[in-house]
């Protein structure tokens, strides 16, 4: 392969919001740029000046750059060009897009993780509007959805996306690769205010600790103050057997997921719609997670067109004790959120508990009671979370406390 020429990104009739960059280093002649852009009239000059500025910044003085642009946003162009330069020079220099303050936020350990939307880490068109679909979490995936030869450029793209895109308070998650490559992924993404890291094919507590320790090294070294939670994914028979140890391997583990595609492959069985072949694994993972005080999260449902199948899957999943599942398409989000949402009886009960709690607070009482029954603080917390969720899902009004006094009398 020609060591003085590198190609990154994607182009083609179906590619949108991306660009393909071919960079050839030269010995002389300065920098020349050949741009073929769908948005030449509106952004041609701005693309050219961005590329020029970047190349200078990254120490490239003589090169020919070809850009085939299908409407890529600046953070995408930056990622593609940085990846091309890195391929050729191995430079460790970065060219970071802005990081607006609105995009920096932390999440709570016990927040709901009903729906988490998988996004392939090298497909910018799917990332740009991902935050609009009300998923609890957005997963930028560097693992199975990225071809091996695209891993390095995806890592840079995901890094830039984490800085630039507004995911609208969804928990920002990254699924890293296994092993050494996963550690490199962490170096790149952890400083970008990632909220949670998914550890794929986790088979031992050591896998978790290795990731946790590496994250601590990165955050300690750079004085980063936000928490980074972990969600190991169990995808093998061995992982299932060690689920409890994995769940409590590190204090930053907040949830544990099961990946049924790889698990059934590992077990040498066929994945069926009924899922009897993985019933043991799933119940074991649920139990291990509950025992460790973290959230058990179910696998994705692979058929986007089968909404009825998804509905059934969610019902079974919730009945087993799972507290969420993955989504491979935004269309699945609403149904999954509804499926895991509190049921009407649960909401009514939670309202009573919260009212009793608030009444106790206003009277200065330390003990909350509903009728003759004492209410423990975790139960109050859970009720508040149910109410919060019911409001967020639009199941009840945010002003539910102002409901007519008749109703309050009925409920008290």
């Amino acid at each position: 392969m020609d060591k003085s020429c590198a190609t990154t990104g994607n182009s083609g009739p179906k590619v949108r919001s991306d660009c393909q960059i071919t960079l050839s280093l030269k010995n002389e002649g300065g920098i020349s740029i050949e741009l073929k852009s769908k948005v030449e009239t509106l952004y041609g000059d701005s693309v050219r000046s961005l590329c020029l500025k970047m190349l200078r910044c990254l120490g490239i003085e003589n090169a020919h750059l070809e850009v085939v642009d299908s409407g890529a946003l600046p953070f995408v162009i930056m990622a593609r060009l940085e990846a091309a330069v890195k391929k050729l020079t191995g430079t460790g220099m970065k060219f970071l897009p802005d990081f607006p303050e609105d995009n920096m936020y932390s999440t709570a350990r016990d927040r709901f993780r009903f729906s988490r939307l998988y996004l392939p880490g090298n497909t910018p068109s799917l990332m740009i509007n991902a935050g609009l679909h009300s998923a609890d979490g957005i997963i930028l995936d560097l693992e199975d959805s990225v071809a091996p030869e695209k891993k390095d450029e995806a890592r840079i793209l995901v890094r830039n996306a984490l800085r630039q895109l507004d995911f609208r308070s969804a928990e920002k998650m990254v699924r890293i690769n296994q092993g050494e490559r996963g550690m490199n992924d962490l170096d790149s993404v952890i400083p970008q205010n990632v909220n949670l890291v998914l550890i794929p094919k986790c088979e031992s507590p050591e896998n978790v600790r290795e990731v946790a320790n590496h994250i601590r090294e990165i955050t300690a070294g750079s004085g980063l103050a936000y928490p980074v939670y972990l969600m190991p994914i169990i995808e093998s028979a061995l992982g299932v057997e060690l689920a409890f140890d994995i769940a409590r391997a590190d204090e930053s583990v907040v949830a544990m997921a099961v990946g049924l595609e790889d698990l059934t492959a590992d077990m040498g069985v066929r994945r069926t719609r009924e899922g009897n072949e993985t019933l043991y694994a799933r119940t074991r993972i649920v139990n291990a997670a509950k025992a460790a005080g973290i959230q058990p999260i179910d696998s994705v449902f692979p058929d986007v067109a089968d909404m009825e199948g998804l509905r059934n899957n969610v019902a079974v999943s919730k009945a087993l004790g799972f507290e969420g599942m993955g989504c491979i398409h935004p269309r699945q989000v609403a149904l999954i959120r509804q499926g895991f949402a509190p049921e009407p009886e649960e909401i009514e009960k939670s309202k009573k508990i919260v009212r009793a709690y608030e009444a106790a607070l206003s009277k200065g009482l330390g003990v909350v009671a509903l009728g003759s029954k004492m209410i423990d603080p975790p139960v109050v917390n859970r009720a508040m979370r149910s109410i919060d969720l019911a409001v967020r899902l639009g199941l009840i009004d945010s002003e539910w406390r102002n409901e007519s006094s008749d109703e309050i009398q009925q409920t008290s």
Binding site: V39, L42, S46, G71, L73, H133
Partner: protein, 529 residues
């Protein structure tokens, strides 16, 4: 009215003036005087409607058989010669096999400087570029898409294009602004007397809602069919009394390109989100109600909105009084399941609607001439409660553009868009940006519809309501909907995409945009290379 500098339109220098919308427009187009836009409802026409020459029975066979052997013979009998205006309708859409052949025949006969007046053009009409190049056609007065639009935008057409809405086209024909010398009207079924309809045969398109005006006002009318049936062809969407010749050919169109086998709602999660928001807005604002009169296009997002509206109507036990087509299977489902009483239809978009016209008594052909003509004693669009429309751009004053893209190239026709703006609630569901191109801009590249008539913009990142519609703003005040302002939407688009540069133009005017009353609302200028 103040005069602007002299600019070149086509070959000669003629003055432009600033019209009531603040746009510089010529006072003369293709050698004919043109009236600058004076504001909405400000221009009042005078005089009489145009009338074609009086024909007589003595010139036609008493047995009523007007069949001639070929289209060429028919054109010659109709006196085809230099400078004539030839009209066609677009019911065969991208499957039209006849329009191009008119100009091929004319070219072979050495006829020059024709004016083509289609009710719309499609990619299948791209071959007419060669007849524009060889001088057979002087100009097109009608929509221009794809390569044709590019050809015109680059200043390569001899005459100046004139773009009119569907309603503007019938108004111009009725008023005599455009005089059709020969109308060539393809018909899926016709009899030898010239009665014709949109159903039957192998090229059925459902209805012929765009053909009526041409038949009534053209000097000569040729009906072309591939399905000659016995007299009488019923219903007579085109009446044989207007027809000079009937030509029978093997095939007038390619069926699968005439109607899509089936129209599909969008699969894009982002567009579905916009559709959901639009339906929620219609419900929460109270615009959607029992007896509602509605119209939406056949684009994927519009269809999804229709499906969501259907669900709301069903849930509430409501019924739409009528919907105006472009009909689709989704509208037919509303009709057949009892959530819509009538479909008034000017064109059918899919096979399900074509079938519905033949079997459902509530599915009725309704010509564009009756629905959209502004120079008429009232029209249908101002009676509609809900109008769902698209746009390539909308600006901070809610002005809309549908004919050019932000890079300045002509890429779409106006269709019924301008006419539909007169509905009571005009809603534009739009993505905030398309492949980095912001849809909300400072000022539209080409003005097609004044912002006074555009009420609501629904994007995936929020809903902006025209400040002129305080009633609507009030109606959704505590609805929980993401209501924002057009300014904020524009800023958000620019934050994501960057501030775009503007296209640069030459002085030469390549197209004039007419308003529904025949006045000139804007122009399109040649792209600067």
């Amino acid at each position: 009215m103040k005069f602007n500098k002299q600019v070149n339109t086509a070959d000669m220098s003629i003055p432009t003036v600033i019209n009531a919308a603040g746009r510089a427009v010529p006072t003369e187009i293709n050698g004919k005087p043109a009236i600058p836009f004076r504001g909405i409802g400000k221009y009042r026409p005078s005089g009489n409607k145009y009338g074609p020459p009086i024909p007589s029975c003595i010139d036609f066979p008493p047995d009523g058989n007007k069949v001639v052997a070929t289209l060429e013979e028919a054109l010659l009998r109709c006196g085809l010669r230099d400078g004539m205006t030839i009209s066609t309708h677009h019911h065969l859409r991208d499957g039209d096999l006849i329009s191009n052949s008119i100009f091929r025949i004319a070219s072979l006969l050495g006829v020059k400087d024709l004016v083509w007046l289609p009710s719309a053009s499609f990619p299948c009409n791209d071959p007419v570029i060669q007849y524009l190049e060889d001088g057979t056609i002087n100009r097109i007065e009608g929509s221009m898409n794809g390569p044709l639009g590019r050809f015109v935008s680059e200043g390569r057409m001899k005459g100046t294009a004139v773009l009119r809405s569907h309603g503007g086209r019938v108004q111009a024909i009725q008023d005599g602004e455009v005089r059709i010398d020969i109308a060539v009207l393809v018909a899926p079924s016709a009899d030898s007397f010239g009665n014709a309809k949109g159903t039957g045969g192998s090229s059925a398109c459902g209805v012929l809602g765009y053909a009526k005006t041409d038949a009534m006002y053209a000097d000569k009318v040729i009906v072309v069919t591939d399905n000659l049936i016995d007299v009488p062809c019923l219903p007579m969407e085109i009446e044989g009394n207007y027809v000079d010749c009937v030509v029978v050919v093997d095939k007038i169109g390619i069926p699968e390109k005439i109607v899509s086998g089936t129209t599909q709602i969008t699969k894009s999660p982002d567009r579905l989100l916009i559709a959901e928001l639009t339906a929620a807005f219609l419900e929460k604002s109270g615009i959607l109600k029992d007896g509602v009169r509605m119209q939406a296009g056949a684009g994927g997002t519009s269809l999804a909105i229709g499906v969501f509206i259907h669900e709301i109507l069903r849930k509430k036990g409501w019924k739409s009084k009528f919907g105006f087509g472009g009909s689709t299977k989704y509208m037919v489902e509303m009709l057949e399941q009892g959530q819509m009483e009538y479909i008034l239809d000017a064109q059918a978009f899919d096979l399900e609607s074509v079938a519905s016209i033949e079997k459902n008594s509530g599915h009725v052909p309704y010509p564009v001439f009756n629905a959209y003509n502004f120079h008429s004693k009232g029209n249908l669009t101002s009676m509609m409660d809900i109008m769902i429309l698209g746009a390539t751009e909308v600006d901070l004053n809610f002005n809309g553009n549908v004919v050019t893209h932000s890079d300045g190239y002509l890429l779409h026709g106006i269709g019924g868009w301008q006419n539909c703006l007169h509905a009571r609630n005009v809603i534009l569901p739009l993505p905030l940006f398309r492949d980095r191109i912001p849809v909300i801009v400072d000022q539209v590249t080409t003005l097609c519809g004044p912002g006074e008539l555009i009420d609501v913009i629904v994007t995936e990142r929020g809903i902006a309501i025209n400040p002129l519609r305080q009633d609507l703003i009030e109606s959704v005040r505590n609805s929980g909907l993401p209501i924002t302002t057009i300014e904020k939407l524009k800023l958000e688009a620019e934050r994501i995409c960057g501030k775009p540069s503007l296209p640069r133009f030459e002085d030469k005017i390549v197209a004039a945009i007419k308003w529904v009353d025949g006045t000139v609302i804007d122009t399109v200028r040649q792209i600067k290379k």
